[in-house]
Symmetry: C2
Subunit: 330 residues, 2 copies
Amino acid sequence: MNSQTSKSIDSLYEREKKKINTQLQNLFKNREPRSLYAPASYILKNGGKRIRPMLVLFSAKSVGGSFKNVKHTALAVELLHSFSLVHDDIMDNADKRRNLLTLHKKYDLNTAILAGDSILSIAYQELLKDFNNNTKTSIEIFTKALIEICEGQSYDKDFETNKKVSIKDYKLMIQKKTAALTEMCCHLGAVLGGGSQKEIQSLKLFGRYIGFAFQIRDDLLDITADEKKFGKVMGGDLMEGKKTFLLLKALELARGNDKKLLLKLIKDNGTSNKNVLTYKEIYLRLGILELTVKEIKKYTSKALNKLNCLKGNEKEKLIWLAGYLLNRNN
Amino acid sequence: MNSQTSKSIDSLYEREKKKINTQLQNLFKNREPRSLYAPASYILKNGGKRIRPMLVLFSAKSVGGSFKNVKHTALAVELLHSFSLVHDDIMDNADKRRNLLTLHKKYDLNTAILAGDSILSIAYQELLKDFNNNTKTSIEIFTKALIEICEGQSYDKDFETNKKVSIKDYKLMIQKKTAALTEMCCHLGAVLGGGSQKEIQSLKLFGRYIGFAFQIRDDLLDITADEKKFGKVMGGDLMEGKKTFLLLKALELARGNDKKLLLKLIKDNGTSNKNVLTYKEIYLRLGILELTVKEIKKYTSKALNKLNCLKGNEKEKLIWLAGYLLNRNN
């Protein structure tokens, strides 16, 4: 992609993101009671990258549709994502997200549960607004993803106490927890944009593979990212004993004392801050970072290959988005 | 209604309830992970009366439709109800419902949040199965009720700390928290059963008024019901300082020492078990129980009046159901 194209997509992205943020705020502005909708509004001001709405918009466009066809659907997917973050943050007992207090910390547990529910209810309301003959299909796609997100989160919860998680288990978990959502975004965009069966199928898989790459990249960032930019504690996953791709891969490959230390981290459900460097050194010794990058690249190219069947230049937006998503360090 | 008719509806109700219970269990039987779906299945075994599915079935029938038209919708409304109970029980810190441990007590908080979410996701999936040209309408009706239920719960939460709740505030709260759901059931039944605009409008209001009557009756049962049958502690609402119809009406009418005691209960956010009788005596002195019964009757007859426009005998099922619902002491 030449730099001119990239620059123009960049500014398109910023423009659309701004619009989406305004529309999300407008959704909650005049509703009562404020005790419900002010917290919902707070959490949607969190400065997210709005990748998922953009996947919807760009997918629709790539099959010959327009942004207008999926205007509300784009908001619905961000609301679904936001609902799941609010409830996940409760379950993970997370204090902050993107340097802002999580909803249950800013308000309280009950408010966060209910605001999450409510954000989901508004998501369905938005989804219904992009009315055409595909409404039933779009609600089906959306609901299937919602079901999978709950299942994925349940697997993820199970992993906290399961000492024998395999890479295969991990992949099933992230397929449901992360990839189901990005798959849904592209699927909805393709359907509502009027894509052919082949285009729909390809975009669906593009979304799925991008989701895999994105989640594994997220695991990697725990070790490599700039703490301030990422808005999370460096090595936080290790401290919590989270079964990330890196940890599971390391467990597969380690021998001797390294293996012992890794098993201890699993047994203790995490480790203290001061040991993070020790584990990072094990990763380096085993070449885990390179293997993880390789895995991310594998899914990224599987994703990009799926775009080959699309005609015209509009797919460049999706290529750009994949790059944006996977080169982020924030 | 003659006793023959009543008896035959009674056995129809029992038969359909049994079917609904089996279908609800089947919904969760073969899904994975069990860590998610076993808790969902547990809470749907709680022996509820399945009033809401029955409102859907009987409403469809009363406008010339069949049970088959709304088979899945009947399950969807029970799932929506169940989702809201699971999350409400967390917020109310309730240990038991219908003499069974609530989900967050039987399992834990995180499981209950996620199982609630998941039950809602399956509700939408079921709703989509009664496919006809009205699918968009039925999802709209369902989503509107979901939004209102969240709003109603938020008002209810606000009431816990609000010392100046009026009867008007109370009515808005129960309209959203309780009546929106019964209204939705009848509305869905009428639409999917193929009712005329007039029939749909009438059944909608029948459902709403029944909901009002039902909630006020629920408030009354806190004082008058048999503890074992009702499955809740007698006077529990007083002990929690809950702003019920009875308490708010008593506050309106009381003077002197009675008023002082009532205001003290409001200020203290409840009272101890040993004072319940004192407050019951105030209610008796002020004629609150009679006034409450009068209010229930008012809404019941408003509801029943709405059935006048329906032709044929099928409306007798709804009349029977209203009676069943409002004469319950369990």
